[in-house]
């Protein structure tokens, strides 16, 4: 067991966990930030995606030891009051169905637009292909991202 210090959603947090504990379970079990979802545990579904700095990462693939000292943003910290342009676009396009995968989708989309504010369809494909949605919300996710790229309200 070790005391691990990380910054989550701008707040310094300290947890006492095993060094190999994935960030996913630190967030969900220790910090009670359950917006980050477990889907596969092996980095192929994208449900557990969080931001490390401006980069989208799989929280199931980052151990406590690797996470120590780093800054993360979860869906709970994407904005205060759902005012991130992507969250607004998600509501405008009524993207979600069951909603379970959507936190990961939103965080990857936000990292994409931070890196490429004029993201094209192929940029969207490349970034979002790392995510699984069984409800099939892909067409609406694409529209929501385009909406933000266009600067539409």
């Amino acid at each position: 067991m070790a005391d691990i210090a990380i910054v989550v959603n701008g707040q310094p947090r300290s947890v006492n966990v095993e060094n190999d504990t994935p960030l996913l379970w630190i967030l969900r079990d220790e910090l009670m930030l359950t917006g980050t979802k477990y889907g596969c545990g092996v980095g192929v579904c994208g449900a557990c995606t969080v931001l490390q700095g401006d980069r989208a990462v799989r929280s199931c693939q980052i151990t406590a030891a690797d996470a120590a000292g780093k800054r993360f943003t979860t869906i709970e910290g994407l904005s205060s009051d759902r005012n991130h342009p992507l969250q607004r676009a998600w509501l405008e396009e009524d993207v979600s169905q069951c909603g379970y995968c959507q936190a990961g989708m939103l965080l990857t989309a936000s990292a994409l637009l931070k890196a490429k504010p004029n993201a094209t369809d192929s940029d969207i494909d490349a970034a979002l292909d790392q995510h699984v949605c069984r409800c099939g919300t892909y067409p609406r996710i694409r529209r929501a991202i385009h909406r933000v790229v266009r600067g539409a309200p």
Partner: protein, 725 residues
């Protein structure tokens, strides 16, 4: 959670103006003075402040039912849509039909919810009329208020609560006519969406209760395997691991946190007596299915003389193969149970709360009312969560360890120990005359029955035709007018659990039927869409198949609409092809697709070996509740079915070979086509479901398009690159 418990108690005392409420928070029970409340039935409660709470009696798994059922209730009540609150009903005497499947939520709730809303609205109007000393017929309702038409006086529902609560609930309140509806038929965004985009929506897996432990379970690698030996030495060294507990379904590793439970499980050694199923493998099973083709089976529908020879007939025969598939919802199975003080509390993402209550009570030897089930949001259901296995595990484990516990399945557990859509073979026979007119149609399905509650009982088989018809949706209810039809079912049992799938039994049969009708169109040298129309035109407008009524006129209308909107028959870029397919789902929703496909310039590993550019849908689901919800369910069904063309579950040495989305691939963003939905205006006063009807005709539309694009008939799923090489 507190409000839900309160609500049920109010509901049980419906019609009375209550002043005392009972609130239970954890173990503490408090009695408090509540605002007066008007709760004329189980579905609606309005308090003096105007707070309007609607109960939702079906389970939300993405199909939008919390939004659409609320729309029906709120419209009939004339509630203020922006101000309503929802509460998810728990099983109890007032809520006995919470189980959610078969696309029956909307159709089955339409009448009771409208009656509930209409009765409440009539009482509020009567209360206002009495206050004003006017006739109720001189008043109307408008967005959470009653209005006296002549004077313009207005009373909000909250203000009418004490008076309305003293009135007798009418049994014959008039529901709104179509013209009077203000919410039903309009586009309404998903009511839970704001909580989804900020991460605050709570799914089953997010349940956290005081003192809760977490468990993962090692299950038999082969069905029927029994435990020979357990070595938990290494497991017990994992910090955080507590009990290692044998259960009916395997061995549970219980820990204080999820990671310890996962590590502890990985460290556990269980030796199994693998038993008689250890030799089961897919190749042998396909041979068994093929052998079944030689059996007569049970005739599920017979029209005319399907076996009489016709001189000069053109005969077409083909076999279609459909694989095993897993639901693989992104939220794995999970359940929190707390057995204490002679009762059991359950928090569970389930499609079947009533079944959870019944079966947990049976397992624990309790009365059903001692089991309190809190249904949560569901991270994908698709039929998987009609089975309650994971809830039983949690209840059994909580009792054994005397603690609240969350049972969490891993992704691998989910893919290997679910219940599958079963593999099936479809032997098709068609005969047309020299001018392409239909003569005979035969469809034999060799497959496995749902076996979640064991093999069919003698009682089930009292009416074998009806029983096997259920397993042949999409086959025996063929809408086309052949003068001779025979459909039959040959049963082959498998040692794996087989259960409901999205669109239940329909997708495999509809795949075979709609691809094969294209083959007949080809034999008749006819346009596939016009050929279908001709098979629906020169015959009775409706036809009975088992308990279903197929409306050929409605099916023609969706085909004609999809023909127009897809640009059917207009030129396409080189290499692209169009395909059509249609279906009447369970005698209810009528739906047609046109798909446009081509082969990609560059094949990508892990992706479909073809590109679906565009899918056009025309649908008639009766009264339209929420056009936006219909569009979403079409998009969802298209992409769900496309995944079915991509992955399969296979068996080797009795074991499922797949475990994650890596080896059971599903459709990703770059594979999703552009999807357009066109809704046929309602011609009736009954709405039908949309969660499933969008699934069955998609695969044949795509395969028929692939034929148009490439000249290759693909008759087996999943579609492999080698099929198109």
């Amino acid at each position: 959670m507190t409000s839900r418990r309160d609500f049920v108690r109010y509901g049980a005392l419906s019609g009375s103006a209550l002043i005392l409420g009972i609130r239970r928070t954890g173990d503490a029970v408090t009695v408090y003075k509540a605002p007066a409340r008007f709760a004329p039935n189980a579905w609606i409660a309005i308090d003096e402040t105007g707070r309007t709470v609607l109960a939702i009696g079906k389970q939300e798994m993405g199909q939008g039912v919390r939004t659409s059922l609320a729309m029906i209730l709120a419209d009939e009540l004339d509630a203020d849509w922006s101000a309503i609150e929802l509460v998810q009903a728990s099983p109890g005497p007032l809520f006995t039909r919470l189980n959610t499947g078969g696309s029956w939520s909307i159709g089955g709730s339409w009448r009771p919810l409208r009656e509930a809303g209409a009765a409440a609205r009539a009482m509020l109007i009567a209360a206002a009329a009495a206050k004003w000393g006017v006739d109720a017929s001189a008043c109307t309702s408008d967005t959470g208020a009653v209005v006296h038409n002549a004077s313009g006086r207005r009373l909000r529902y909250g203000e009418l609560v004490p008076a309305a609560a003293r009135l007798t609930v009418p049994t014959n309140a008039r529901a709104k006519t179509a013209a009077e509806r203000r919410i039903v038929g309009t586009r309404r965004a998903r009511i839970d969406a704001p909580h989804i985009v900020d991460g605050s929506a709570k799914y089953g897996i997010d349940t956290r209760i005081p003192g809760m432990l977490v468990a993962t379970i090692v299950r038999p690698p082969v069905p029927g395997a029994t435990i020979a030996a357990i070595d938990s030495t290494a497991t017990r060294r994992v910090r955080g691991v507590g009990a290692v507990q044998r259960l009916s379904s395997g061995v549970a590793v219980v820990a204080t946190n999820t990671w310890a439970a996962l590590k502890g499980r990985a460290a556990l050694t269980v030796q199994w007596n693998e038993g008689e199923n250890r030799g089961f493998n897919s190749a042998d099973h396909w041979k068994t299915l093929q052998a079944g083709l030689g059996e007569a089976g049970v005739i599920t529908r017979s029209v005319g003389s399907p076996r009489s020879a016709t001189p000069n007939a053109k005969i077409v025969e083909a076999r279609y193969d459909y694989p095993f598939a897993a639901h693989a919802p992104v939220e794995p199975m999970n359940c929190v149970a707390h057995v204490h003080d002679g009762r059991c509390e359950v928090w569970v993402p389930t499609q079947a709360p009533n079944r959870v209550q019944r079966d947990v009570a049976r397992l624990l030897g309790m009365q059903p009312e001692a089991v309190h089930v809190t249904p949560t949001l569901i991270g994908g259901g698709f039929g998987r969560r009609l089975a309650v296995d994971y809830a039983l595990e949690a209840a059994e484990l909580s009792r054994a360890i005397a603690a609240p516990v969350q049972v969490l399945w891993t992704r691998e557990d989910d893919m290997r120990h679910g219940h599958f859509q079963n593999a099936s073979l479809h032997q098709m026979f068609g005969a047309i005359d020299q001018s392409g007119r239909p003569l005979a149609w035969r469809h034999k399905k060799v497959a496995s029955l749902h076996n979640l509650s064991g093999p069919p009982t003698a009682d089930d088989l009292k009416d074998p035709v009806a029983y096997f018809q259920d397993s042949m949706w999409g086959a025996y209810d063929i809408p086309y007018a052949f003068p001779a039809i025979e459909t039959s079912y040959v049963r082959v049992d498998v040692p794996y659990r087989i259960g409901p799938w999205r669109a239940v039994y329909s997708p495999p049969s509809t795949f075979a039927r709609e691809c094969f009708v294209d083959e007949l169109a080809q034999a008749a040298a006819a346009d596939p869409l016009e050929f279908r129309l001709s098979l629906l035109r020169d015959a009775e407008e409706t036809v009975k198949a088992g308990g279903l009524t197929i409306d050929r006129a409605r099916l023609r209308r969706v085909l004609e609409l999809v023909r127009e909107r897809s640009g059917w028959g207009t030129p396409l870029p080189a290499g692209r092809g169009r395909g059509v397919a249609c279906n009447v789902y369970d005698g209810e929703t009528h739906l047609a697709y046109v798909a446009e496909v081509s082969l990609p310039n560059q094949r990508r590993n892990g992706y479909l070996p073809f590109t679906v550019h565009r899918v056009t849908c025309a649908v008639d689901c009766g009264v339209v509740i929420n056009p936006l919800g219909i569009e979403q369910q079409v998009e969802s069904g298209v992409i769900w079915a496309l995944s079915n063309m991509k992955g399969e579950i296979t068996f080797k040495d009795g074991r499922v070979e797949q475990g994650t989305y890596r080896d059971f691939p599903v459709v990703r963003m770059s594979e999703a086509p552009v999807i357009e939905t066109h809704i046929v205006p309602s011609h009736g006063e009954q709405p039908f479901g949309m969660g499933e009807p969008s699934v069955p005709p998609l695969i044949p539309a795509v395969l028929n398009a692939l034929y148009a694009a490439t000249g290759r008939r693909i008759r087996r799923l999943p579609v492999l690159a080698t099929d198109l090489a």
